[in-house]
């Protein structure tokens, strides 16, 4: 199992290297464009050239990537081309915002998906049809449309939640809760829709398995069968769903942060990518990939503890 973990870690490291290099290569090659855009209107070709050198954009791709990588290892992600802000500083402000929307959303998605999935699979009938209906509808409507509708209803019409902005937990916990509620809801609808459906399938598969029949035949009551045996065996596919949900939440955050003007990672990435702010984009790419890898790793670990067969391998 330890060997397995090490292999997983190595693999993740490889993924991280390839993804960051891919990101780097994608943005590489527009040195004067970047420099003149940094300088703005009225810059002379001489000052543009000086800026190119100052930003280090005149060096070969591999050298630039190597420099970025070696500094990144020491925690120095460089400074934004445009604002001169430390990338690590920007990330330390932005990542918590995104996470404080995504993590509760993920937790609630998991919880609600399991509840709905179990109810739909076990009870069937009306609740099952509701889950089916909800999952189709929830995945069909783009999350930013849901977000806009939420703003109209809960922020402008009823004024229950703030329409925009983010309050740090440390500043005012209650305001924090209020500020993340609508963004989280907007993300939740789509995620739960997908999650509940998948969990329902996993539950149905497990419910139909031979050993469940045997457990029933042995006189076990339905409840312990479902909550101890079926849930546990449906958990492995469920966890895979959760880690995929995390990915889609991270993607969805880009739109949601736009609507709610949240100072999160998604907006940082969007803004930086639009103007080829290479260090900033690289920072956000790296953090996103790390988050995804960590989630996958944890999900893997959980699957391995839950599933004795996987533990053996």
């Amino acid at each position: 199992m330890l060997l397995n973990l090490m292999k997983n870690l190595l693999r993740s490291l490889g993924v991280l290297l390839v993804t960051t290099f891919a990101g780097f290569a994608l943005m590489f090659g527009n040195a004067t464009g970047i420099a003149s855009s940094v300088l703005g209107i009225g810059a002379t070709p001489e000052s543009v050239q000086a800026k190119v050198v100052e930003l280090g954009l005149d060096r070969p791709l591999l050298v630039q990537y190597w420099d970025w990588l070696t500094s990144a290892v020491t925690g120095d992600l460089g400074r934004s081309f445009y604002t001169g802000q430390q990338v690590s500083e920007a990330l330390s402000q932005r990542v918590p915002v995104t996470l404080s929307v995504i993590i509760p959303a993920l937790a609630l998605t998991a919880l609600i998906s399991v509840l709905l999935g179990v109810a739909a699979a076990v009870r069937g009938g009306g609740i099952d049809r509701f889950v089916q209906f909800f999952s189709v509808g929830g995945t069909a409507i783009p999350n930013f449309i849901i977000a806009i509708a939420l703003v109209f209803a809960f922020a402008i019409h009823w004024r229950i939640f703030p329409a925009t902005g983010y309050v740090a937990f440390g500043d005012d916990p209650w305001q924090w809760v209020l500020s993340i509620t609508l963004p989280m809801l907007a993300l939740l609808v789509g995620a739960v829709a997908g999650g509940a459906q998948q969990f329902r399938t996993a539950m149905l598969d497990t419910l139909g398995s031979d050993y469940v029949r045997t457990l029933r035949a042995r006189g076990m009551k339905e409840q312990p069968i479902i909550f101890q045996h079926v849930l546990r065996n449906a958990a492995a596919p469920g966890l895979t769903v959760v880690s995929l949900t995390m990915l889609s939440l991270l993607g969805g955050a880009v739109f949601i942060e736009q609507v709610f003007a949240l100072p999160g990672m998604g907006r940082l990435a969007t803004d930086a990518a639009k103007i080829s702010d290479v260090p900033m984009v690289m920072g956000t790419v790296m953090v996103t990939v790390v988050i995804v890898l960590v989630i996958n790793f944890v999900a893997d670990l959980l699957i391995q503890t839950l599933n004795p067969k996987a533990r053996m391998r």
Binding site: R11, G14, V15, V18, T19, A22, G23, L26, M27, N30, G124, G125, V136, G137, T139, A140, I141, P142, F144, I145, L207, G208, S209, D210, Y211, R213, T214, L215, R216, A217, R218, G219, M220, K221, P224, Q228, H229, N233, L247, G251, V254, F255, Q258, A269, T270, A273, K274, I275, S276, V281, T284, V285, T288, V289, V292, L293, N307, P308, K309, M312
Partner: protein
Amino acid sequence: MTSATDNRTTDGRAVRFAVLRKLVKNPIAAVALVWFAGVLFIAAFAPLLATGGPNLTDLGAANLPPFSDGHFLGGDAAGRDILDRLIWGSRSTVMAILIVTVVSVAAGVTTGLIAGFYRGRFETIANFLVDVVMSLPGIVLLIALYALTGPNLPVAMAVFGLLIAPTYYRLVRSIVVSVRNELYVDAARVVGLSDLRIVGRHVLWAVRAPIIIQSSFTMAAGIGIEAGMSFLGLGDPTSSSWGIMLQQSFTSIYNNPVAILWPSLVISLTVLFLILLGNALSDVLQSSARSKVMPRRKRRAAVAEAQAAITGSPVDAEPAELSSSDDVLLSIRALRVGYPRSDGGITEVVHGADLDIRRGEIHGLVGESGSGKSQMAFSTLGILPKEAIILGGSVLLDGHDLLTDSKRQREARGTRIGYVPQEPMSNLDPSFTIGRQLVKGLRAARPMSKAAAHAKLVGLLERVGIRDAERVMSLYPHEISGGMAQRVLICGAIASDPDIIVADEPTTALDVTIQAEVLEILRGLSEERGLAMILVTHNLGVVADLCDTVSVMKDGLIVEKADVDALFESPREAYTQNLLASSRSVELMEIEQ
């Protein structure tokens, strides 16, 4: 494995029309199909359908409300007709989803095919790359691409296609991996087909249906991402795609709020219908193998109808009295079981069978596949599949009908009636140790302390021939052999001291030497404990070895009942005779010492 079942139900030229017919029968799918076809039609004939070009402006029409004269859905902030723009926009949208679909299918399916078919190094590398792509923040990449290429919808959609290609890769690879081990692929190899022809003839066919289903979801995602990119201001503002319309109307949301409704609606509806279409397709193409559970109301109606139909039927008319009722432990009377068909009707698989088991009697229930013998066994325990419908009859334990009294039936399970299943491995929960699941099962039936349960089970495991019982208790199911697993299951069935055991082909999955041992154990237990047993089997040798009495089933009916010696010596029914003859023709009747 799933692909095998899928395969069986999917294709064929004849089926192709059937698919369409089934789709159209499903009202939701029909609407979805019509909508999607409509979008394609509108995209194709946009120049004929629109009253003007996509950018024809009439400043007088700026922000006109819907249903105005000449502007059915009103005008946008630039004075363009919204309906016309929606019509023209369908072209960009259709192009976008086509590109996404074509690119992702081309990339994902080819790599998936190669990786799945040849495995090896290519698969390792492809898997790694798929991991990379799947952990990439796709939207950020698309934005970075925008910085590089500007608003270039085809390129952005092609890249998005590459980003979601892993979905196809994984789907195709897993199917191909299972298909390449299918016997028909082996057969094609032996016959001398080249790899290319094998892939083209056998493998591609197997992945076709899943690809079609997945593609409807891909198209839905394509529309979503086009709208999303446009919403972020990364679309091509010169186009009239629905996403651009949404974004442009969003900027004047306060001035002309209703204008945002139309693109939102067409986007959401198109996505919705594509998803519904995908679901319907997967229902039609993949899940016809699993039958649907009938709604409760329909079930009741079916049962009532079935009961009305049988009044006076000869099978039911005079219940055969086989024995005096006082020593009968369990009796099945006029049992009828059915399954719903896809056309809404019911197929009856057990047509009113009777059976009596006395204390200590081992009763063989013999028949060929599809004779309904397992359905009988499951009925006694109330563990028929969810979709099965009991159309009539009763299962009497000590004179009480278990079918009408579900509480009593639950109580009887485990405590009065034990169950030994056919497939030993799949009947143990893979997540729990042998010990834990045995203890749990025992304590569920008979309340006792964990330690007492443990001690009792260890004793029983030793009784069924497991030497290292304490150690086996701590193992997981995948760590023991099939023979051992079957002993564990027998142990689980008898631990709570039931009066009767229902054994469903308990030795079929075992090797013949193990079978002999298991039969020995069953006989021993029956003798020691006075256990009655219903032994469901197709093997007459097993019956001859173990049973006291036999019932022969054919097509859901019991055709002959007798003591074992009588039956084997002088079978009455032609069917029984045939069965016996066939069986004996391949047995080692004589053994020289």
